[in-house]
Amino acid sequence: MKRFAYLQAASFGAAAKALAARNSVAKGGGTDLLDLMKERIVEPNEVVSLLKAERGERKGELSSLATLSETAEDAWIGIDFPAIQQAAAEAATPQVRNVATVGGNLCQHTRCWYFRNKSFDCFKRNGKSCSAMEDGAHNRYNAIFPHDSCASAHPSNLAPALIACKAKLSCVHPDGDRVLDAELLYTEPERNKMGDTMLRQGEIIRAVVLESTPLTRNSIYVEFRERLSFDFAVASVAAAAHIEGGKVKEVRIVCGAVAPTPYRSKAAEKALTGKPLTDATIAAASEAVAKGATPLAQNRYKVTILKSLVREALRGLRS
């Protein structure tokens, strides 16, 4: 691990300033950062801990420093944004959930093992190509909607749930704060390889801004893991639907772990809008989600699982 300085920031403003000035990284719970630093995948000069920063969240906000446990146990989140509550509760292990933060979960790096082993070439690590797409590569957990340059799967539980719930992110930056649609947080690997997100150097998510609507109140998060203890989802689905007069007025379907960024299926949403949630429309939506999937040699099964999860999520919204 490269030697680094450690700064405990007292405020988001101070943290943003420190992060903007130097080769530094922000630390929330730090559950993954330490591993990445040990493997020298991330080699900052300075680690800026946000944990002691004044949270200062307002009404309608979920602090980015809230732990996943706090999020999963928050009554407001549970009632008005069940998908977010479920996503937080399903993550990792109780021990990790007790320290991992909302902001850290949103900004975590992919678990693609070719990204995490420096012996391999990796486009995201500024390499030439994606080792996960080579013939014979072990890509069973990789993207089924891969990009030309990168087949990583986005690991965040919370991101699909936030996007499904139309969350906004209140971000702090020395040059001025801004509010960003959660959906616009992530960017294709081609545009910002290692960064994963659109956050500028020095920009920090201060809080998630949430508005309770009929859509968010009827939301759900489901995932499939190979093992029940401590595993990342093979695929996940967050869905939210505003149903009025027996018909879908508005719906969002966002999938995790299937593409380099959270994957919103507008085709599936279109298949449902204006229609009732019936077995037939649900089946059509699940087919629509899988349409356009280009699975790799070892992960065709993820398409089947994804379709099942979409059905499960939509059935959950119907009841």
Partner: protein, 733 residues
Amino acid sequence: MSEKEVRLGFLGNEKTVKVQVPDGSPVPWGLADDLKVMGKDHPRVDALAKVTGRAKYSYDIRFTNLIYARILRSPHAAATITKVDLSKVKALKGVLFTESYEGRAVRYAGAQVAGVAAVSEEILDDALALVKVEYEVQPHVVSTDAAMKPGAPTVTRRPNVIVSRRGRQGNQDAAQRAHKEADVVVEAEYRTQVQTHSCLETHGGVCKWDEEGKKLTVWHSTQSTFGTRRSIARRLGIGESDVTVITQHMGGGFGSKFGADGWDVFCARAAKATGRPCRYMLDRKEEHMIGGNRPDSIQKCKFSAKRDGTLMGGEVHSWGSAGNGHGGAGVYNPGIYNFRGRYSEQAGVSTHAGGGRAFRAPRHPQGLFALECMMDELAEKLGMDPLAFRKQNDTHPVRLAQYDIGAKEIGWKRREKSGSQKGRFRRGLGMAASRWPHTGRPGTVVDCRIGKDGSVLIANGSQDIGTGTRTVMAICGAEELGLKPEEINVRLGNTNDPYGHGSGGSTTTASMAPSVRHAAFNAKRELLANVARKIGGDAEKMDLKDGKVVGAKRALTFKQACGLLQSDVDARGGGEALWRVPRFSREVAGVQFVEVEVDTETGGVRVIKVVIVQDCGRVVNALTARSQMNGGVIQGISYALFENRLLDPNLGDMVNADFLGYKFAGALDTPEIVSIPFDSSQGGSITGVSSLGEPCTVPTAGAIGNAVANAIGVHVRSIPITPDKVLEALGAI
């Protein structure tokens, strides 16, 4: 010498054997003996030390001037190390010792390139990043299938695929004749993956030389203190008596830790060169890549039977890779059942991969996965209940009793016809049998000292691999001395004490128990002889029971008897004479029954319940016996559903060399486990104790495979049984 009758077996199936007992030796325990301590539930004597963190593992050994060693390893699977530049490393402050392996050939990712020792782990990590290496990379092959293809790069000078002389077993003509006479034949290819030992405490230890640099002490994470002593002495060119190996507690071995490895020898050299104690514990990635593994297997099986359920032929051709060496990748298949003709031909396949090592029941879990699933496939084709089919073709008296116990406990009558369920979630029941040789052998020597103050010390120099050997020694000693286990002090894990075997083949408890009993018996005889001398009476008619001397002229507690001693009693136990007892059965038997639930939409398999009925001869400690059985089952579930070492074929490096990508069963994946020790009197030695550690992980994967097939109506013929394979079997991909 006197002839004694000893009753062997279990309730409902007993036999009496005649045993010649040398004068002054203990009479073998038999079925009729009413033992007070043996076979009851006893918490580990070191439980408190372990759960409070006071127990010192090799990992915990610290000295103020301790230095740290590590070896830089090749990411390439086949290469020549053409240049190792250590100039920047040597210039780094805090680096004390280096070695270069320039010019050497690399035959697997993880092979050593350069060694460094430094004053801190941080500096060591910096130093390794500064080593500049040039490789001449050569073609490699890491998958067993690819290595078998014509034209594949060869790993050694010999061909990749070799059938050793021991690789051909049975009689091929007999097997094929049996097939011809059979009515039903099943042919299928079964596959098992590479499993790493994944010991929670990695390999390694701390080496410290005395001031003259002559005598070496190694605190080693080992399952064979004496094996480590022998191998490190040989590799360093010093005498065994110059080496002391200490293993007070260890965090798992499973067959991968029988002696000193290259990294230990490097650690000892670094310690000697610097005059400071040096520590080298592998990191998790090294542990996965070079710490050993269970070889994979491809098993092409042909089994046949008569329509009346008579098992006929069993023929298996197998290939497996134990990495960059040759051989060591055989499977136990066919076996267990009464095949009229059987034959196996087993090939070792060399690959550019980290070497295999003995792993909890070598050859068995992989062989039994195929063997037991084949038995179910055959039963299915015969239209027979798989349990009835097994009982018809099994003669082991213990297993025949166990089948019924297990079937009752799991509710085998509930089992539905395979593939008859229609819903999304389908339940399945499956079962499989286990076998393992009876073990335990002479050679273990135990000291027993009874102090004038009534204290008892029992000592042996071998280690506790984690099965609770300290407690076993206390129990066997307490039984013979009429005391409670907590009244016995036990010392182990130091080669300055008498010799004990390595913990391999499930032999430790079986080998230790007779020698402990013998040592305690000898000490007792000496103590009672002194009582007779002091207060009169016949020592031969006296014994120790419930903390008292019985048969003496007056009431005397154990402590009072000890108080009569002039000086401490020092007695020793061991020797061939303890082993002249016939066995009740030819091998150790067990059965496992499993219930699973399969999600047919996602392919997810959840184990709901496992029943294990396991014979281990006489049970020493029922509590830790059940604990062993639980552990064996969990490891078996993990093997059946999750674990898989994955090497990237293009680079040869392992892609999942951690505990996130290399998955094993966690708390939520662990089902209800009903562990039923089958306590019986098996003979073999004066204590009748036999193997337990290995047989309880042997059949789990086979039983799970059969339960999955029962649920979904089709066999997944490859482990780990992951969602993709289940969905594919269901035609849902």
